[in-house]
Symmetry: C2
Subunit: 194 residues, 2 copies
């Protein structure tokens, strides 16, 4: 029974045998109540959390909070890879538009194509809704870039501004410690200084 | 519901907000089955895992596997802080005696005294059973040392050999990278070389 729990914890990303053991002993020795609560929360979430029908993020309701919020403009659509990315952007507090979650990136080798990323729905959205700008906020990885490129090509047929979030030196970051790719991006993406 | 699950994961040792979020999204997006299984394993373990009545380790049965194993000698008793320590010693494969789990160390400030560590039961064991040697395998921390010292004092009244596991340079470790306390221990604990 202890072993079963150990293995179940090992299924979590980044959790190996030692960490799983630490979790198990902590719960059994010090926090059985926490163990029961975690089990309850797990069942609740696994059963009831679905995807927002509009932006595809994880949500308990048919429409997520952001999609259901009439104060947010429909004119801007930010395209991200995961629901976590929405969370990160929301914390910055500067974006007032809506989102669209791909839940991954294009990866034909793993059988993840346009359909799996919901690009048909995205095309429908661009066709039917009054979207003025799509912001490509996929990750700055090769896969993220390829996906951004693909979406930008697809969106060109619509009368919509297509932008990509800026890549460069992080705020508070020191040039000395930035990697060469970041520096190359920061230089090629330089802007007029007012 | 997502937030509740996030917080439940945060109760695990070493799991912060970001890691909890990663767990949650992994389970919801990629492995709902794993989520249900984890919940089931949690409830099973929290309900049915008790403590071995003889050595106090975590066990589903009244007697744990090691205590119930007649091939292991009762003459040696290895005293450890946690059930994880038993696991570590068992993996070395050199110990064939029994164990006694303190489930912690002496810490009067936290209200953890002799009774909480089961030292009364330990005294009973030394009194009634034919134990020839107790091996103090508490951690090499100040608390572990104090606890070892206390138990050794208590055990002196019985006709029993009292030993402490050796502390020194780890096998494969280099002197150059060992900390000063370890080197001091390694020197003061030196043995005749045959």
């Amino acid at each position: 029974m202890i072993e079963t729990l150990n293995q179940a914890f090992c299924a979590l990303p980044g959790v190996g045998k030692k960490t799983a053991q630490r979790f198990v002993y902590h719960l059994l020795e010090r926090d059985r109540n926490g163990g029961f609560e975690l089990a309850k929360a797990l069942v609740g979430a696994m059963k009831h959390v679905k995807h927002c029908t509009s932006c595809r993020t994880l949500s308990e309701k048919t429409l997520c909070k952001i999609c259901a919020n009439d104060n947010r403009t429909n004119a801007q659509l930010c395209i991200v890879e995961t629901p976590t990315d929405i969370h990160a952007i929301e914390q910055s507090g500067v974006y007032k538009g809506k989102y669209f979650v791909l839940s991954g990136y294009l990866s034909p080798i793993d059988g993840i194509g346009a359909a799996e990323l919901g690009l048909n729905e995205l095309e429908q959205k661009l066709h039917c809704q009054n979207i003025e700008e799509i912001i490509l906020a996929t990750n700055a990885t090769i896969e993220g870039e390829v996906t951004a490129h693909y979406i930008s090509n697809m969106a060109k047929q619509f009368n919509v501004r297509i932008t990509r979030i800026a890549h460069g030196i992080p705020i508070g970051g020191e040039l000395e410690y930035a990697d060469i790719n970041t520096i190359a991006h920061a230089l090629s993406g330089r802007k007029e200084y007012n």
